[in-house]
Point group: C2
Chain length 214, copies 2
């Protein structure tokens, strides 16, 4: 009887360990050999569960997207839904900043992500955005969220003129009011600006009285 000495290998366990590896060592450290080593198995054993590195990247994406608020995309005013989604998107990336470039530059195939984008597309089209602009609109939100996540995990003193303060007096003065929660305030300011700018753009894009094109 007794419990097994080691928990059984599964896709879930492989993906969780892959995310932990990227969190700790960076995305360039992700290899089948290194992942197998951390799981205490032979690399060949991994192939009983996944087809290869590409599928593992999609598994990492699945875990990160699982931390985002997708349910909010189900309805309500589109600006508010997008704002809540963007906050959860930024927070998830800030917990896993080493995944930012990897996920942003790998083709998306995981069903959970596709479901998230399906919901965003429906939300935006129902709000009157033309079909040929919705991908751009949600990508803009994502790009801002990704960049802001990196800012959130940056040191609290991000710009340090130190002994050069005399040559950059206006910058030095502006930095004096820097607050520990600067990154979050900055994200909110940018999100407000971005969404109010998108509201203006949508109004200009949609033909008056013509309703949303389908």
């Amino acid at each position: 009887m007794g419990r097994p000495r080691r928990s059984l290998l599964s896709r879930e366990r492989i993906f969780a360990e892959a995310l932990a590896l990227v969190d700790e060592k960076g995305a360039d450290a992700l290899s089948m050999a290194r992942l197998a080593g951390r799981l205490g198995v032979q690399a060949a054993s991994l192939y009983n569960h996944v087809t290869g590195r590409d599928e593992i990247v999609e598994g990492i994406r699945w875990l990160v997207v699982s931390e985002m608020d997708i349910a909010v995309l189900g309805g309500g005013p589109w600006q508010e839904s997008l704002a809540t989604w963007a906050r959860s998107y930024m927070a998830a990336l800030a917990r896993h900043p080493n995944t930012a470039k990897l996920l942003a530059t790998t083709t998306i195939r995981t069903p959970l992500s596709l479901e998230m984008y399906e919901r965003v597309v429906i939300l935006l089209e129902d709000a009157g955005w033309p079909r040929d602009q919705v991908v751009s609109v949600f990508t803009v939100i994502e790009s801002f969220a990704i960049g802001s996540a990196l800012d959130l995990v940056a040191p609290s003193i991000m710009i340090d003129p130190a002994e050069q303060s005399n040559s950059v007096p206006r910058l030095a003065a502006a930095l004096k009011g820097d607050r520990p929660d600067r990154a979050k305030e900055t994200f909110e300011l940018g999100l407000t600006a971005l969404l109010s700018g998108l509201v203006v753009l949508r109004r200009e894009t949609v033909h008056d009285g013509a309703g949303p094109p389908r």
Copy 2:
């Protein structure tokens, strides 16, 4: 006589090789030992020119920022200056995407960057932005530019529903109109939205008729 078999070691040569290393192998690969190996010298020789890894990161920042349009921050309408700066910022990061997280999460000390931020601060304060908001305003632009740079270097097909198209019909339809220059169009759409949103915010922030606080 004859020329030396190997060009002399210099800070410029060290920084250029460090950027090439990060471009090729990722930021986690940046170590004094590896850099020395690429330059064909002992690691100890590097310390005759730089104090350590931190200074090399600032050297990489100097090279990337050198590719940005800082001169445009000297004057003109603030929205247009910021837009031109943002385009050059995004383009520079897109040429060196592996530097994005490294530079966004390391305290900035290089004089060229400080000069760039001094110019942005002056531009924004002269446009009426309150001193305690200027750092947030330019950080918002930077975050969007960094996220957009990663989008620009992403594969042209970024979302691929493939055989799952039936379960995400609206997304599949929206993606059909995807164009090869989507990322650039998306960046311009976001930049337009962001700047027009900032114009609205600035108007609300600045007290009517009171002029910019100093």
